[in-house]
Amino acid sequence: MTTRDFDAQVREIASQYPDSRSAVLPALRIAQERHDGWLPPEAFVEVADALELTPAYCQAVASFYDMYHLAPTGKHSVEVCTNLSCALAKAQDVVEAFESELGVKVGETTEDGEITFRAVECLNACGYAPVVAVDHRYRHPVHPEDVPAIVEELRAGS
């Protein structure tokens, strides 16, 4: 996607709102996809230019929300919910199974840059706990014995 295409796409989204500022969240999401899953400084300039805002404003908005990443991330993401219902369903065992399978701790990316592993707050699928979002798609329930296959699937797909 060229910068011109990005501008056009963001302006098209902005036209759906009475105030174009409302397009900041969708624009940041698209910018993040263009920049390998995170928002480098130039991404804020692009979003700001498309919406006639300042880069600082766009960064201030992005830093508020958990789904925008301000540092490089892996190609894939694995996110284990550890809130109350998942905790009661032994989510910690799932966390430890991923740590052991991936060789990283919570919040880290594998050395090859492939997979970022996170603990996240409630994904709201509590009745099917433990819940794991793999590349933002929910899997549930995920038990420690399911973990090697998930990791293998991600490594095979990349």
Binding site: V24, A87, V106, A119, C122, N124
Partner: protein, 437 residues
């Protein structure tokens, strides 16, 4: 009480993500009926139904609509809150994924009531699959010519619990950091883009087509007298069959836990029930012979909330549970109000000290005192939500908190069911400590 399907009626037999599938169960028949009514008559009908907001506060939906200024000539907006983030809740997700056309018909009818031309559905960013289903359903309904003169825009959040709070949601929808606004002015007077705005939960809006289809007088006979209709009860935690159960309001809590959800697994004992999502005060086993409705649960000092029950059995350490809940609210505090921003951190620090066996009885008193300094002292309810779990666990399980102090450690000796559970906020806290070191 038997199960009663209204919000999820037909989802097993038909594909309610499509207009055709929804029409097969009588869908989109209420819309022309509603559009033939004046907005005054439609609002009167909604008020007669006494549909109470399913997002948690229980404010009557029809009364909310009546507060919208429709005479000023300014645009009015309907905003549907699909930012489902309360730990324990997963009902909106099911409606969006399985019956989005019912939600869309509810949007169109509710928009007619307040003479709005633009509806926004704010769906949490993590609900990616659900967003795709909803967006496809909206596009299909628009193409089928059902919208005119209304437009529906689906807006994705980006990961922030606070955006489920209605004024924070408005700021987020306007392209800002999602932080609550002072009230007054309330959204019906000055909401989205400063214009009169009605904000309702997914299940509230999805209840509307059936009210119009059967008539408010008949609909109001379903459920509890003070809280008519059905709710999708999300039940999770230590039960044999967790999941969503759509039941009439007024169903006994014991029936939901033991008959529908199969009771407590592994022959364990019930220890407590968090009845409305993690933010509400916990109930003890002697309190579960209560009717599941707003007023009955309110009379016990807790809240019906988002109809989301988290069941806890005797394997769980309540200090650990309080600490995990407290870490969540600390992580999600938006930072705008000092009592909430700072108080949620104090709670976590004190609970960590108690769990580690390093606290004194004075620390328990201090924890109580911190709670009372947060409660009611912030712009929105998040601060209160951070306090209710901690204070209610301390109140209902005082011996367990004291035992941590007296024994100099956790009385579960590493065997609690949630032992060692990590939280996303652990990383920030530890990173900050290392940065200082």
């Amino acid at each position: 009480m038997p199960a009663r399907s209204m919000l999820l009626a037909g989802v097993e037999e038909h594909d309610l993500t499509t207009v055709e599938g929804y029409r097969a169960v009588g869908g989109y028949e209420a819309l022309p009926k509603a559009r033939a009514m004046t907005s005054d008559d439609l609002i009167a009908e909604l008020q007669a139904a006494n549909l109470r907001g399913r997002g948690g506060a229980g404010f009557p939906m029809g009364r909310k609509a009546s507060l919208i200024d429709r005479k000023s000539g300014r645009p009015t907006y309907l905003v549907v809150n699909a930012d489902e983030s309360e730990p324990g809740a997963f009902k909106d997700r099911e409606v969006v994924a399985k019956a989005p056309q019912r939600l869309i018909e509810g949007c169109l009818i509710s928009a007619h009531a307040i003479e709005s031309r633009h509806v926004f559905i704010y769906i949490r960013g993590e609900y990616l699959t659900e967003y795709e289903i909803l967006q496809a359903a909206v596009d299909e309904a628009r193409a089928a010519g059902l919208f005119d003169p209304v437009e529906i825009t689906v807006h994705r959040g980006a990961g922030a619990y606070i955006c489920g709070e209605e004024t924070a949601l408005l700021d987020s929808l306007e392209g800002r950091r999602g932080q609550p606004r002072p009230r007054p002015p309330f959204p019906p007077v000055q909401g989205l883009y400063g214009e009169p705005t009605q904000i309702n939960n997914v299940c509230t809006i999805a209840s509307v087509p059936e009210i119009i289809a059967m008539g408010a007088a008949e609909w109001a006979k379903i459920g509890a007298e003070s809280s008519p209709g059905t709710a999708i009860f999300s039940i999770s935690g230590n039960v044999v069959q967790p999941g969503n159960y759509e039941l009439e309001l007024g169903t006994p809590m014991r029936e939901l836990i033991y008959d529908w959800a199969g009771g407590i697994p592994d022959g364990r004992e019930l220890k407590g029930v968090i009845p409305g999502g993690s933010s509400v005060p916990i109930l003890t086993p002697d309190q579960i012979d209560v009717s599941l409705d707003y007023d009955s649960i309110g009379a016990l000092g807790s809240f019906f909330g988002s109809a989301s029950l988290i069941v806890v059995d005797d394997r769980c350490c309540m200090v650990q549970l309080a600490l995990r809940a407290a870490k969540f609210y600390m992580h999600e505090s938006c930072g705008k109000c000092t009592p909430c921003r700072e108080g949620t951190r104090w709670q976590v620090q004190l609970l960590e000290k108690i769990e580690a066996g390093e606290a004194t009885h004075a620390d328990l008193d201090l924890l109580s005192s911190v709670g009372s300094r947060i409660l009611g002292k912030s712009l929105c309810a998040l601060g209160d939500f951070a306090v209710y779990p901690v204070q209610s666990y301390m109140r209902n399980y005082p011996d367990e908190f004291r035992a941590h102090v007296d024994q100099g450690g956790c009385p579960f000796h590493g065997q609690s069911s949630i032992e060692g559970i990590v939280a996303p906020s652990d990383l920030h806290v530890h990173a900050a400590v290392e940065a200082h070191a």
